[in-house]
């Protein structure tokens, strides 16, 4: 019987549906992953980020300055959250990532404007992520021509000039040429580590259980903690090798200017690697087989790329997505890695991103170890 027969074919189809129904995790993923993508791509991601936090350093409080600030605010791209007293103050805010922009209004702004001298408004931007800064800067430039139209009526209209009455000068810090790779390549470190650490640990432990070798191992004097630490240590080494490869590529292929302290970066990376390994261990206690382990890892990996600020500007996302992203270790590691490499940040500057990472590590490890122990008896 070489002919294709419907009943044989149909038998396979039915069997496949039954198996699909039995594997709850796979079934859940088939529904969950598209739903997650729909929500993230549909609602969370915004390539035109607005309401970016900005600080103002106004040496002139005159009506023109107020008009300017109001106009920037009305553009929708800026939310003024701070006031910087000094230049050093402004720099610190940028380095810490508290603000994306600092708007500097010079001392004699109003006077020079009225004299037709086209006073300079310096906009300092944290341009580590060009995608976050670009749209706001374009909008600001467009604003320049029209911002004072109402303040300069009648005879004053001549001050509007051809280029506009003010000169917006944009100073893109940390990445003056707006090269996307400068942002992406250090970020890639976090993404690659997330992917391999979570997947590999989840797989390594699930494999022992799936193949039955775990039972044998536990019948020996080996303690569960020894098994766990012994299994993850090689992968920590792998993580460091991956990190080193990316850093070498960043330096010699992509020519990313790296000014930070590598010792600090490697030290902090241990926390991040640990956090991901803990997630992997937790998944391995939930997964029945290696396929499920991979699926769970993917479920974690997807938001780690999309909601962490790796691919899309973090501040462009709605609040709920930012809150969700703030839970993920990758979000904080990206800030740390970019901060150290591009901004030359030290321990004090990365501290705000360090403690959430530490908190995640402690909580995930506690859950992982607790669940791991429960699977034994």
């Amino acid at each position: 019987m070489r002919r294709f027969t419907f009943h044989r074919f149909w038998a396979i189809v039915l069997k496949e549906f039954i198996q699909m129904k039995r594997d709850r995790v796979t079934f859940g993923m088939m529904i969950g992953i598209p739903l997650m993508q729909l929500i993230i791509f549909g609602f969370a991601i915004n390539s035109d980020p607005k309401h970016l936090p900005a600080a103002i350093r106004a040496a002139d409080q005159g009506p023109f300055a107020r008009t300017l600030v109001a106009a920037l605010k009305n553009s929708g791209y800026f939310t003024f959250v701070r006031e910087a007293a000094t230049e050093a103050d402004a720099r610190r805010m940028l380095r810490l990532g508290e603000v994306q922009f600092v708007i500097n209004i010079p001392e004699d702004f109003s006077r020079r404007l009225l004299r037709g001298e086209r006073p300079t408004v310096l906009i300092e931007a944290d341009a580590t992520d060009p995608a976050a800064v670009g749209p706001a800067m374009a909008a600001t430039r467009a604003l320049a021509g029209t911002v004072f139209n109402r303040d300069l009526p009648g005879p004053l209209a001549r001050l509007r000039g051809t280029d506009g009455p003010v000169d917006f000068r944009i100073h893109a810090h940390y990445n003056p040429e707006n090269i996307t790779q400068y942002n992406i390549v250090p970020g890639l470190m976090g993404v690659v580590l997330t992917m391999t650490m979570v997947v590999i640990t989840a797989l390594a432990i699930t494999r022992e259980r799936e193949r039955g070798t775990m039972e044998n191992l536990l019948a020996t004097p080996v303690r569960p903690l020894e098994v766990m630490l012994g299994k993850i240590l090689p992968y920590i080494a792998v993580g460091y090798i991956q990190m080193t490869l990316i850093l070498l590529a960043a330096r010699f292929i992509f020519r990313v200017p790296m000014i930070g302290n590598f010792v600090l970066l490697y030290a902090v990376a241990l926390l991040f690697i640990g956090a991901n390994l803990a997630v992997g261990i937790t998944f391995s206690t939930l997964a029945k087989n290696q396929l499920q382990a991979v699926q769970m890892a993917f479920f974690f990996f997807l938001p780690s790329i999309l909601l962490s600020g790796f691919m899309f500007p973090f501040r462009g996302m709605p609040d709920w997505a930012q809150a969700l992203g703030s839970v993920l270790p990758n979000t904080h590691f990206l800030r740390i890695a970019r901060g150290i490499l591009l901004k030359g940040n030290g321990l004090a500057e990365i501290a705000p991103a360090l403690w959430p990472l530490l908190l995640f590590l402690v909580v995930a490890m506690a859950i992982g170890v607790k669940r791991y122990r429960q699977t034994l008896d």
């Binding site: 044998n216 019948a219 020996t220 004097p221 008896d377």
Partner: protein, 308 residues
Amino acid sequence: MSAPDHVIDVAGVTKRFGPKTVVDAVDLQVRRGEIYGFLGPNGSGKTTFIRMLCGLLTPDAGTGTCLGYDLRTQQAEIKRHVGYMTQRFSYYEDLSIRENLDFIARVYAVPDRAGAVQQSLDRLGLAHRSHQLAGQLSGGWKQRLALAACLIHSPRLLLLDEPTAGVDPKARREFWDEIHQLAADGLTVLITTHYMDEAERCHRLAYLAYGTLLTRGTVDEVVASARLTTWEVTGTGLLPLAANLRGRPGVEQVVPFGNTLHVSGHDPARLGAAIAAARGPGHACREIKSSLEDVFICLMDHAKDNFS
């Protein structure tokens, strides 16, 4: 207080998984140098009981010692001196034979590791294939490797969970010769099996069904304590005869054995009467000694009746 020559001495050992009692108040004593057979249908709790003996699971109730160490509090000591061979091959298929043995020897901190590994390879005849990956081995060789691995730390007690499932008769015989040799050297062995020929090779037996220990003792003791009378019927038309016999008073079990029929019951008089009434002219009947298998099938049926 356990007698000094009892390697395993447990009383009332119970294990529950959720609402299900998998092992129910089992008492067991195993003497040093003894090969103790552990029998019972699938899912009767044999593996769970063994896991409690080797410190993998903690009993929910009951007390006992294994090698003189307390089952509840000294699991670490037990693990150090017990060799446990799991039902399923559970060494690393992507490691070579030597690497597997070396790994286990390291875990047990065996003194003179290299020497111990080489010795165990030689002893089990695995030396010439020591670089082969464990995953490429046939069932029989995997079993030899598993035995070598659980002997490498010179355990005082060997727990073997269906070690000969899926192994050919020759390899099985060699395996049992090895076990007898080990026992003669003073090692105690607790072994689970479904094979009656293997059960008869054990010094003593226990039969577990639905978590309860139904009988124990030597083969003769087990058979005698069952007080089962068995008749063997030969001839033609055994299938209709079997149907005829079933349900008659006194007939508790009718089992075809090749070209013969074993008919068993606890009441010799009623059983004899039933056979006399049902037999035809072409049937030869004689009373035989009940076999271990007759006894076990009977035990299993009774246990089922008690549980349903």
